[in-house]
């Protein structure tokens, strides 16, 4: 491909991406060094905002919680997604129905899905999950105030929302696995588990990686789910980084753009660290392709 052609083809996309995304990033970095309100120029304060964020224990614990949440959701979503993909792949006539049902939770807006989800656990709205639990035990689970029950509920909600994506991608991967590979494994006498672990999974490595990237990106910035699900997030240590940003900078019509931007910059850095393996992979692949 000629150079000129390459650039003609690629420029509109670069223009849109860089034009609309690079300016915001530049602005974010600029604001992170300033004391600034909406629509004002602000005053330069150097690294003050960074010091403020980094010395706040709440920021540290929100980073820990978010990273932990991200990693555990990622594992659950991949394992469960794979099992579901295998099962759905074996379905016949029921396949479109089952796929359609499983897809729904992925396409509903987070804030709406999370609110519906919270009604299942909130006695003030019927709390059907509590009724079911009540059949087995007299113990009231305090889903919204106690740290671990709340974590589990939040985690369940995010898995609920992300599972369809994972299953879909892994299902697509499974369909690309040549029949011979599976057959060959059978002839070797490998058990079911072994066949999946050693033959099929490695051959859809790429898909698993793709699910991992997207899950990391999306869970690391979880925000709107927590509004209905974790009203006590600050008290019980279940504040995500994005929620921390919101609480510190923008709640109650606050406009601490400087501090908010600092946390955004730091989030980008955390994200980059978590993406290093994928970045290396892309570099290698693009060079050799």
């Amino acid at each position: 491909m000629r150079r000129r052609e390459y650039w003609i083809l690629i420029l509109p996309s670069i223009f849109v991406m860089f034009g609309l995304l690079l300016i915001p990033i530049y602005r974010t970095i600029e604001w992170s060094l300033k004391d600034v309100n909406y629509g004002e120029a602000g005053t330069f304060v150097g690294l003050d905002n960074y010091v403020r964020a980094l010395t706040d224990p709440r920021f540290g614990s929100s980073v820990l919680f978010t990273v932990g949440l991200t990693l555990s959701v990622m594992v659950v979503v991949i394992v469960l997604g794979y099992i579901l993909a295998v099962l759905v792949n074996n379905l016949g006539k029921m396949r479109p129905l089952v796929l359609g049902i499983i897809l729904i939770s992925y396409v509903i807006p987070n804030v709406v899905g999370a609110t519906m989800f919270s009604w299942l656990f909130d006695g003030n709205f019927g709390g059907v999950a509590n009724v079911v639990i009540g059949w087995f035990t007299d113990h009231d689970v305090l889903w919204f105030t106690e740290t671990w029950p709340n974590r589990i509920m939040v985690g369940l909600n995010i898995v609920w929302a992300m599972l369809p994506f994972s299953m879909l991608i892994l299902l697509a991967g499974l369909q690309g696995v040549p029949r011979e590979i599976i057959e060959a494994a059978k002839i070797d006498g490998a058990g079911t588990m072994g066949r999946h672990l050693h033959i099929i999974l490695p051959s859809i490595r790429g898909m698993v990686g793709f699910v991992a990237i997207i899950t990391i990106m999306d869970v690391l910035r979880v925000f709107d789910n927590l509004i209905p699900l974790a009203p006590n997030a600050v008290l019980n240590g279940n504040e995500t980084i994005a929620l921390y940003t919101y609480n510190m900078a923008f709640q109650d019509g606050g406009q601490e753009l400087g501090l908010g931007s600092v946390i955004n910059v730091l989030t980008i850095l955390i994200m980059l660290v978590m993406l290093i393996p994928f970045i290396r992979n892309t570099m290698k692949e693009a060079k050799s392709a």
């Binding site: 629509g39 479109p96 909130d122 006695g123 709205f125 009231d140 105030t145 009203p231």
Partner: protein, 436 residues
Amino acid sequence: MIRRPSKKAALAVGIGAALLLSGCGAGSRTQDKNAAEVPCEFEAPGSATTVNVLAYNSSAIDPFTNTLVANCTTDEVDVVHEPVDFAGQVQRTTTTLAGAEGTYDILETYGYIIPENAESEKILPLNDLIDKYGDTYGLDELSPSMVEAMSYNGDVYAVPMQAQMYIMAYRKDIFDELGLEPPTTFDELRDVAQKIQDSGEYQYPLALPLLASSDIATAYDSALGSLGVDLVDHEAGKPNFDQPEAIQAFEELKSLAPYMDPQVTTFDQPKVQQQMYNGDAAISIMFSGRMNDLVQESNSPNFDKIAFAAPPAVVEGGKQYSTLSVDGWSIPANTSLDEDMLFNMIGSSVSEKASLAAIPAAYPARQGLVTAENSPYGAAANDAIENAPAAEPFPYTAKVSNAVRPVIAEVFTGALTPEEGTAQMQTIAQKVLDAE
């Protein structure tokens, strides 16, 4: 499915599409039946104009908003109000006032944030317009104290439409059955709650809005106010969290915890309403604008068992456990529309006829309008408004309250002792004051 669409599916999609495309009947009814029919007259602007109104939706605000929209829309002037929740209104007030131009032309606002926006000249002083149109809309009958609550440094920045203060709603049937009287102090409240709890019908008889990320600050402020102490000593420019009452307020609030749901720190006002609708709680204290909902037959099977009283005082002889908040209309400084036109719209929506139509959903800002006859909680409201702690109309009040809120929540849940908490709050609040 794709290759051979079934006839039924095609039909369903067809009907759906037709409905969608035509928008048949969409938006054909107004939301509220208690919008009054009042004259709204202003000089025609001469060209097609859109007036954007920012006001959060709630039972108490809606009548005024709906009256404004219904009566002031003409062929030429389109008055637009899109539904928004309270948090959305707060967020949008900040953004629309930030730049040289904003989206909104009429803002719903409240006493708490007026000083801040008035000081930065983001909303217009309305004194001249009030003089000019006072007679037309009977504005001299607005309660002077509520006009005062909408003022900053001697200028009026909003036309008050209504007041909100805490009211206590309780289950008359339970109280009668157990021979209880509505409590007038926290002591009595604990006593009554204990008796209801002991009767075995209610595990958690009391519900207060104590949402840790919002309402709990108002609750603490109310308790402190009831003990006769402001958040800030405004003369000395010092927070009052080093006063003994600051600790006492915590102890009193915490003493109610055994009678409340263990998840009460997640309750906002709608959830407290749910507690009453569902019969999970027998006593609740929240803002008056939420009260009329409780006695609507369409909302709850318990609608006819609710009675109202003024909230108790924290200690005998003190002010009531309450916060007085006045809502009003203001005009943003960055609107491009004619101020006279906007003021006429505001005036018509708070006129006597419009205000009467807002009862009992709201407690209008006109003197003597609400009575025990025209509002189920009228007597309680008239008592409550007399005995509520005074508001603190300073630009930093809201900031102080927001800044110390996380600590208040931590003390209430027991993560901090009241002593530790008040010490931290004193430091945090002092920082806010120093920055002003």
